[in-house]
Each structure stands twice: as structure tokens, then as C-alpha cells.
């Protein structure tokens, strides 16, 4: 309701306003439109050209160069910053590449060292095993030789003992004295059979 009223009021005032304005316009026309008063033209033209020319001169000489200077400085600064960022990035990438190369090299060296160590250990082990085997073999051979000598010696002594036994047995049993030589020959004969 209030809204309607206000709209109605607005329309009414507009209508009245237009009517009065028309009247006023008619009234003003009798005095002439101020814009058409030719006597004011020289002054308006003169002051327009003067203020425009002075403004143009000042802006061209001082104002606009200052603005463009600021804008250019900012442009340069941004370009320089971008340049520097690109350079830093390149440097960082370079460093990363160098670092990776270093790591790879270190790994390779570690691998060769490990390999060498393994080989040395394996070589050592084989050498020691060989030495041990040889020693053992020697000891075995030594033992065998000793056994062989002992056996030979024992075998030789058996003949001797047998001969003495035969000599003693013969004396005891037959009361016969046989020479050691004969007894040995007899043992040898029996042993040879």
C-alpha cells in the first residue's frame, strides 16, 4: 500500500514537474538559452584553450612521463625477477644433476670395493684351504710312511724272533744246537710256503 502510494506520488510529481518545466523552459526561452548567448563564446573558448593547453603541456612534460616511468620500472622489475627465478631454477637443476651423478659414482665405487673385498676373501679362503689340505696330506703321508716302516721293522723282527723261537724250541725239544742262520732259513722256508 505504502509502495503504491509512493509510486502514485512519484507519478503525480513527475507530471506536475514536467508541466512546470515546460512553463519554465518557455520562460527561459524569452531570456534565451544561456548556451546560445554568443557574447560568452570568446571567454569560454579562450579559457578552454588555455586550461587545456596548460594541462596538455604539464601532462606531457611531467605527469605522463612519471606514470610511464613507474609502469616501465615495474615491468622491468617483473621481467628481471622472472629472469632470476629461471636462472635459480636452472642452477638448482644443475645441482640436482651433479648430486645425482655423485651418488651414482659413490654407489659404483662401493660396488667395486665390495666386489674386490669378496674376491679377496674368497681367494684367502681358497689359499688357506689348499694349504690346510696340503698339510693334512703331508701328515697323512708321514703317518703312512711311519706305519710302513714300523710294519717292515716289525716284520723283520718277527723273522728274527721266530728264528730265536725256533732255536730255543729246537734246543728245548730236541736239545739240538742249531745255528741262527739255519733257524732263520727254516723260518724263511716255512714263511715262504
Amino acid at each position: 500500500m505504502g509502495k503504491l502510494l509512493s509510486i502514485a506520488g512519484l507519478l503525480a510529481t513527475s507530471a506536475v514537474g514536467l508541466a512546470i518545466a515546460a512553463e519554465d523552459a518557455a520562460e527561459a526561452e524569452s531570456g534565451g538559452l544561456p548556451q546560445l548567448d554568443v557574447s560568452t563564446y570568446p571567454s569560454q573558448i579562450f579559457w578552454l584553450i588555455l586550461s587545456f593547453a596548460v594541462l596538455y603541456y604539464l601532462l606531457t612534460r611531467k605527469g605522463l612521463p612519471r606514470v610511464s616511468e613507474i609502469l616501465e620500472a615495474r615491468q622491468d622489475r617483473i621481467a628481471a625477477d622472472l629472469d632470476r627465478a629461471a636462472r635459480l631454477r636452472q642452477e638448482a637443476e644443475e645441482t640436482l644433476r651433479r648430486y645425482q651423478a655423485m651418488i651414482e659414482e659413490a654407489q659404483a665405487r662401493a660396488r667395486t670395493l665390495l666386489h674386490a673385498a669378496q674376491e679377496r676373501i674368497a681367494g684367502d679362503f681358497a689359499a688357506r684351504q689348499a694349504a690346510l689340505e696340503q698339510e693334512l696330506n703331508e701328515k697323512i703321508r708321514e703317518a703312512e710312511r711311519r706305519i710302513a716302516t714300523a710294519r717292515e721293522k716289525a716284520l723283520g723282527e718277527i723273522d728274527e724272533v721266530a728264528a730265536e723261537l725256533v732255536q730255543a724250541a729246537v734246543q728245548r725239544l730236541a736239545s739240538l744246537k742249531i745255528t741262527k742262520k739255519d733257524a732263520r732259513a727254516a723260518v724263511g722256508r716255512v714263511a715262504g710256503e
Binding site: L10, P34, F52, G63
Partner: protein
């Protein structure tokens, strides 16, 4: 009720007579000088810090600069940037005059046909002289529409010349009429506010809306004047 056209009256403040010519310093002169001073003052004040990161006022100045520069580049081409200072002066001067005029009690010098016509004539003569200076007599071929049948040329060329010569008239009348009509409307409605008593709220509301509208018009008309100037510049430099 006050005469709504009284606001356009030229009031001499300091009478100056040079020979026969009356060059008095008037209310119109005052606001021309103030507008020019305000534009220059704003530019200088805004850029006084040379800040890499602009403050509020410097942003406004930079914005205006870029705005007009883009206008010239887009409508008149890169070569026209030589005339950027003139276009910038034109735009800011008209914009300041229009905008200050929206403030009640301030005389709007752009509401006078002689002012807008002088500006438009300046643009017209400058652009035409530039056309002849750049292209010599070949600039006359601008008035022959490309691809027109030979038979039609005697008809078309006078039309082209006529429409070319109407440029300053349409340019000046558009600005002057817009400013004058807006201010007359404001005054007409303002006249009712007291007269209608409590119902004066209605014309007051209309005036508030009109004032906002006028701020838009103030900018738009300065913009249109500048864009057309750029287009004329383009014609003079590139011919079509």
C-alpha cells in the same frame, strides 16, 4: 520555482577585455581551470612515491593511464600512441569537468555547446591535418569508399565528405546535450523537493537515482568522446 536553465548562466567573476573581445574570467573558466588543476594534481600526487607496489591513488592514476593507452592502442593502433598524451588530456579533462559538474553548485562547463564544439573542432582539425600530413593528397581517396561502382562515385563522395564534416557537430552535440539534459532534469526535480513538503521525498528519491545515473553518464560521455577521437585518429593514420 527556480529556472532549471539558470544553472547554465555564465557569471563573470573577473572582467577581462582584450580589444573588443570579452575574455572575462567566469564561473565556467573557474571550473575549467580547477578541472585541469585537479587532473594534473591527481597525477602528480598519485605518482609522488614512485611506488613499486601502488597505493590507492597511484592505482587510480595507473588505471586511468592504462585505460586510455588501451583505448588508443585498440581503436587507433600502435602508431597512434604518439598522440596518447593528447588523448589522455582530452579524456581526463572532459571526465573531470563532467564529474565535478555532478556535485551540486559546481558549474558544468561541458554543458555548453561552444566548449564541446571547440574541443570537437580541435580533434577534427588536428586529425584532418594529420591525415594530410601523413598521406598528402592521397588522403582525399579516403572519401572514395573502397569497392564502390565507378558510376556511384560522384554521388558517394559528396555524401562521404558531408558525413566527415558532420563529425565535429555530432561529437560536440552528443556531449553537450547529454550534460545539459541531465543537469536540467536534476534541477527540475530538485525544484519540487521543497515545494511538495512531505511528498518532496519522492522527487528527492528521483534525484538520488538521477545523480547516480549522471555519474555514469559523466564517465560514459567522456569515454565516447575519447573513443570516437581514437577512431578518427585511426582513419587519419590508416585510412579505412
Amino acid at each position: 520555482m527556480a529556472d532549471p536553465l539558470k544553472q547554465f548562466q555564465i557569471e563573470p567573476y573577473v572582467p577581462i577585455l582584450v580589444g573588443n573581445a570579452d575574455l572575462s574570467f567566469t564561473n565556467s573558466s573557474l571550473w575549467m581551470v580547477v578541472s585541469a588543476g585537479a587532473v594534473y594534481g591527481l597525477v602528480m600526487l598519485g605518482t609522488r612515491h614512485h611506488a613499486m607496489v601502488p597505493g590507492r591513488l597511484q592505482s587510480v592514476v595507473e588505471l586511468a593511464y592504462e585505460f586510455v593507452a588501451d583505448l588508443v592502442r585498440e581503436n587507433a593502433g600502435k602508431e597512434a600512441m604518439r598522440y596518447f598524451p593528447a588523448v589522455f588530456t582530452l579524456f581526463t579533462f572532459i571526465l573531470m569537468g563532467n564529474s565535478l559538474g555532478v556535485i551540486p553548485g559546481i558549474f558544468t562547463f561541458t554543458s555548453h555547446i561552444i566548449v564541446t564544439f571547440t574541443l570537437a573542432m580541435g580533434v577534427f582539425l588536428g586529425v584532418t591535418a594529420l591525415g594530410f600530413w601523413l598521406h598528402g593528397w592521397r588522403f582525399l581517396s579516403f572519401f572514395v569508399p573502397p569497392g564502390a561502382p565507378k558510376l556511384m562515385i560522384p554521388v558517394l563522395v559528396p555524401i562521404e565528405i558531408l558525413s566527415y564534416c558532420f563529425r565535429p557537430i555530432s561529437l560536440s552535440i552528443r556531449l553537450f546535450v547529454n550534460m545539459m539534459a541531465g543537469h536540467t532534469m536534476l534541477k527540475v526535480f530538485a525544484g519540487f523537493i521543497i515545494a511538495l513538503g512531505i511528498f518532496g521525498v519522492a522527487p528527492l528519491a528521483v534525484n538520488v537515482a538521477l545523480t547516480i545515473f549522471e555519474i555514469g553518464v559523466a564517465f560514459l560521455q567522456a569515454y565516447i568522446f575519447t573513443v570516437l577521437t581514437c577512431i578518427y585518429l585511426h582513419d587519419a593514420i590508416h585510412m579505412h
